[in-house]
Symmetry: C2
Subunit: 356 residues, 2 copies
DNA sequence: ACACAAATTGTGTGCGCACACACCATAATT
DNA sequence: AATTATGGTGTGTGCGCACACAATTTGTGT
């Protein structure tokens, strides 16, 4: 039955050498004579040896320290979801000696990133998971880790230049297009003004949000739907009086038909604004199944959510790192999660399925 | 570092007995004196022992035979997807001695189910995965397996009475409601006739499709959208001339606005019909990302697909069975997969993400 | 031809668990 | 009293791999 699986022992027998020699060839450690090398390689060439990962893991019995560098989860429930994905992954691997040390930086202060990143370096981890939401600040940081040979995985935002072991996220341009499609569909054939809203973001340093906006706009310029005027509002923090003022001005234009909000937290903020001013007739499309957003969707204030699955992103990130460290398994360079559409009628099905 | 994990050896030491005794207590095999039992139990009570599954699997080194009982994949690409999910799961576990033996029954002939099910019984598997699409025929079948203590997992269609180890599928009532919501949305505020189509189905014996229809209808009766008339067409096989006739008659009514098709294969059939008669203005909502359906969606004939993820359903089914057999891990009794909405703009993101 | 170093190769051990087996008491049987 | 059950307990081994170390062969210099 089980004799189909080829063990190192079998290879050794076939090649007429000892297991030690085969081991040296496989891991190219120690020196092996040309003669032996040839024999082993020819056997390896003919058969498809796949090491038993179970046995490998058992034998290794090392412990691994992974650092997770993400925005402070207390500042934004979106990042709290990411955090919970990290926790879930850690729980799964804890007994195999994997620990995850979280490091938080201030979502609204780029300088804290550099500072906290330094602490990550000092902690000397075996692997790193990063959400590099600040473009410029992250670049130098990765050079160090590449030199040291410490694998790092990016999620949420991709920075192609840094060539991570793996990136987990979504196609943000397409995400914007999808938002536009849903918006278009929600308009019942009527025309008017649609707005893209960013709240409290430094757009110049966050490429990802600009991508969404681009997708949203290009959908409308690609399709025959020229009856819509698309505006962009780059709003301040909602504490700032200008937030209320600018948004009110937009809403008071009676041609306003819909709002597309670029982040999850901002979605909840805008939803609460619409509810307060009794304007749930304005279609609202935003991001992610935060508790607040779920409530607003149930009440009919939010029409669609695009799920970015922050929990799953982080979960997969840790998993890929562990897979690399323990099982020597190469993760996909790009893992683009599907753009999940959440509406009133499939909301429950997503809520009940946890990380799926 | 790693000393946190408690091994059997540690328990033995703490209890002042040998590992053999602890092993006997844990698996209640062999006899143990009251004295020793008490000592071991008190230790187990104070600490949280979690066996190292890696080591357990390695040591066991048994081989497991799983039977998969599904409709013939050649009859329907939907079931071909399921099959590929099974294959994928098998590939993942093959080296740990798991083999999956597929058994196919005729999708359009209930009698073959009973017959093939008998062959499954004879093959004496260690676990079974079943897609019980025929309600009545499956019931007696499971009694036997329950008696024999062979775990079975259901997917696609649930039959509550048989109490499987696990069920993997979707909430079909909600699925119908979602179809209705998407249909409603696609209507641009215009009213008219909407039809629910079943193709080549014995509705009396397939509860699952009736559930979808119920959901679809109740959405419209629940919402203020009374402007729509909902019809049901139970069509024959498309080879049969009456298929073309009935459908043509429906389409020729100029108040027709949309079609909701209850299965994946039927979606492709109806799409090709609409294309042939140049009626892609009629909104079409159906199921699953079959290749044909993907093509029709790209061409704009199909407006929305609800993804039932047949591949993932079967994949998870095998995985849960293996988890139970090898790792002694209890799967969730009900794993309801999310109702995924596929539209033109997020189609690619789903295609590129494989089983996610 | 010898000693000794270097290169190469083989053997042994542990990882944690499950299970087979051997052992030792004591009780039951002849 | 000698023998055999019997309940209770401990020890030993293998699963496949990685790695340390021992053993062996080959090479170098004198």
């Amino acid at each position: 039955m089980n004799t189909k699986n080829i063990r190192i022992k079998d290879i050794a027998q076939l090649a007429g050498v000892s297991v030690g020699t085969v081991d040296r060839v496989l891991h190219n450690r120690g020196r092996v004579s040309d003669d032996a090398l040839k024999k082993v390689l020819s056997v390896l060439d003919q058969i498809d040896y796949k090491p038993n990962l179970i046995a490998r893991t058992l034998g290794a019995n090392k412990s691994y320290k992974i650092a997770a560098l993400i925005p402070n989860p207390d500042q934004d429930p979106y990042w709290a979801s990411s955090k919970s994905g990290i926790n879930q992954a850690e729980a799964e691997w804890l007994r195999y000696g994997v620990t995850v040390q979280p490091f938080f930086f201030n979502l609204y202060d780029k300088n804290t990133f550099t500072e906290v990143a330094k602490r990550v370096t000092d902690s000397n981890p075996d692997g790193i998971l990063v959400a590099p939401i600040f473009y410029h600040e992250t670049l130098p940081f990765f050079d160090e880790f590449r030199e040291r040979g410490i694998p790092y995985v990016l999620f949420n935002t991709n920075i192609h230049e840094v060539q991570p072991l793996s990136f987990i996220g979504q196609d943000l341009y397409q995400s914007g297009r999808l938002g536009a499609e849903l918006m278009h569909l929600s308009q019942n054939g009527k025309a008017g003004i649609l707005a893209v809203l960013h709240v409290n973001e430094d757009l110049s340093n966050s490429v990802h949000l600009a991508e969404k906006e681009k997708g949203f706009r290009e959908y409308f310029s690609d399709t025959r739907a020229k009856a819509f005027e698309i505006r962009t509002l780059n709003l301040t923090s909602p504490n700032n009086p200008s937030f209320e003022k600018e948004l009110l001005q937009l809403i008071n234009d009676d041609r306003i038909r819909g709002l597309f909000v670029s982040t999850s937290k901002a979605t909840a903020i805008v939803a609460s604004f619409l509810e307060k001013h009794n304007r749930s007739d304005v279609k609202l499309i935003g991001y992610d199944m935060l508790e607040e957003n779920i409530a607003f969707m149930k009440k009919g204030v939010i029409d669609f959510l695009i799920n970015q699955n922050p929990k799953r992103q982080a979960f997969l990130g840790i998993n890929h790192l562990v897979g690399q460290l323990i099982l020597h398994k190469n993760p996909p360079a790009n893992e683009l999660l599907p753009l999940e559409i959440i509406s009133r009628e499939n909301l429950a099905s997503y809520l009940s399925s946890g990380i799926h």
